[in-house]
């Protein structure tokens, strides 16, 4: 779907609260704009973002057209154990893009 920039610490101490920052390349077409011929440009946005940590959902966001293009999201999670943090973006077309980062928790 799109390029994503993700910032997750590679390593953390157990119990630390870490910040995860994400940026995904997407126009977030609102559906309210018109082209030069006056025709409405159909809505096409990322409407859902999910973050799972070793399979458990730790953060979820429902996004609406009011979210700016190239959506940026930052949130926190507790570093509980080493493993995989998965970040998924789902578009209006139903397609989901998932990126995986590994984290080591000591």
């Amino acid at each position: 779907m799109a390029r994503a920039l993700i910032n997750v610490p590679k390593q953390a101490k157990r119990g630390d609260v870490i910040e995860i920052k994400t940026l995904v390349s997407h126009p977030m077409e609102t559906g309210y704009r018109r082209d030069s011929m006056g025709k409405a440009i159909p809505r096409d946005i990322i409407n859902r973002f999910v973050c799972t940590y070793n399979g458990v959902e730790v953060f979820r966001a429902d996004l609406f057209p009011a979210i700016a293009a190239n959506p940026f999201l930052s949130f926190h999670t507790v570093a509980t154990e080493s493993g995989e943090i998965k970040l998924s973006w789902t578009g209006d077309d139903g397609n989901t893009q998932t990126e995986t980062v590994n984290i080591t928790v000591v």
Binding site: V17, Y32, F59, D62, A66, I67, F75, V78
Partner: protein, 164 residues
């Protein structure tokens, strides 16, 4: 004050009163920023309906959540916003969701963030679009079922040099 809300009008008055009573002035005082006095009725109705869908008959108190958004935006296409909630984020006492609403965009919803005890800290940032000068509202729902809110009046102007 924990009034049960019945009519639409009462909702606005009570919320406004609560914000004042709690001693938390609405940041970006409405009267001093021109244009807010004549708020679009339809937009307010849409906003209220969206908030009501979230909170039902429960009261919404001002406080505990802080909405950080510039008072005068450089460009309405990308307005940074941050929400922070004062909460220990334990299993017993945490923020479940944060809903962001706006007043004058075509739709009242901006984003809903679903947190929980795994979050560690209730602090989320993003960037939103603002079509016009308007109020942005953040409502946090806690694990005990209570709702707390914050709102900011944001001024939006057009860029000086446009594409066409």
């Amino acid at each position: 004050m924990t009034e049960h809300l019945t009519t639409r009008r009462q909702f606005i008055v009570v919320t406004g009163g609560l914000i004042a009573a709690a001693g938390i002035p609405e940041r970006g005082d409405a009267q001093s920023i021109g244009g807010n006095a004549a708020r679009n009725e339809a937009a307010v109705a849409r906003l209220e309906a969206a908030v009501r869908e979230l909170v039902g008959e429960s009261p919404v108190k001002a406080g505990r959540i802080k909405l950080d958004i510039p008072l005068l935006v450089e460009n309405g296409n990308a307005v940074p916003l941050a929400v922070t909630v004062d909460s220990p984020m334990t299993e017993a006492d945490h923020v479940k969701t944060i809903h962001i609403f706006n007043e004058k965009n075509p739709q009242p919803n901006v984003a809903n963030f679903h947190l929980g005890p795994r979050a560690g800290r209730a602090h989320v940032t993003s960037r939103m679009r603002l079509a016009d000068t308007q109020k942005v509202i953040a409502i946090a729902q806690f694990s005990d079922g209570s709702f707390w809110s914050d709102s900011v009046d944001v001024v939006v102007t057009l860029a000086a040099c446009l594409e066409d």
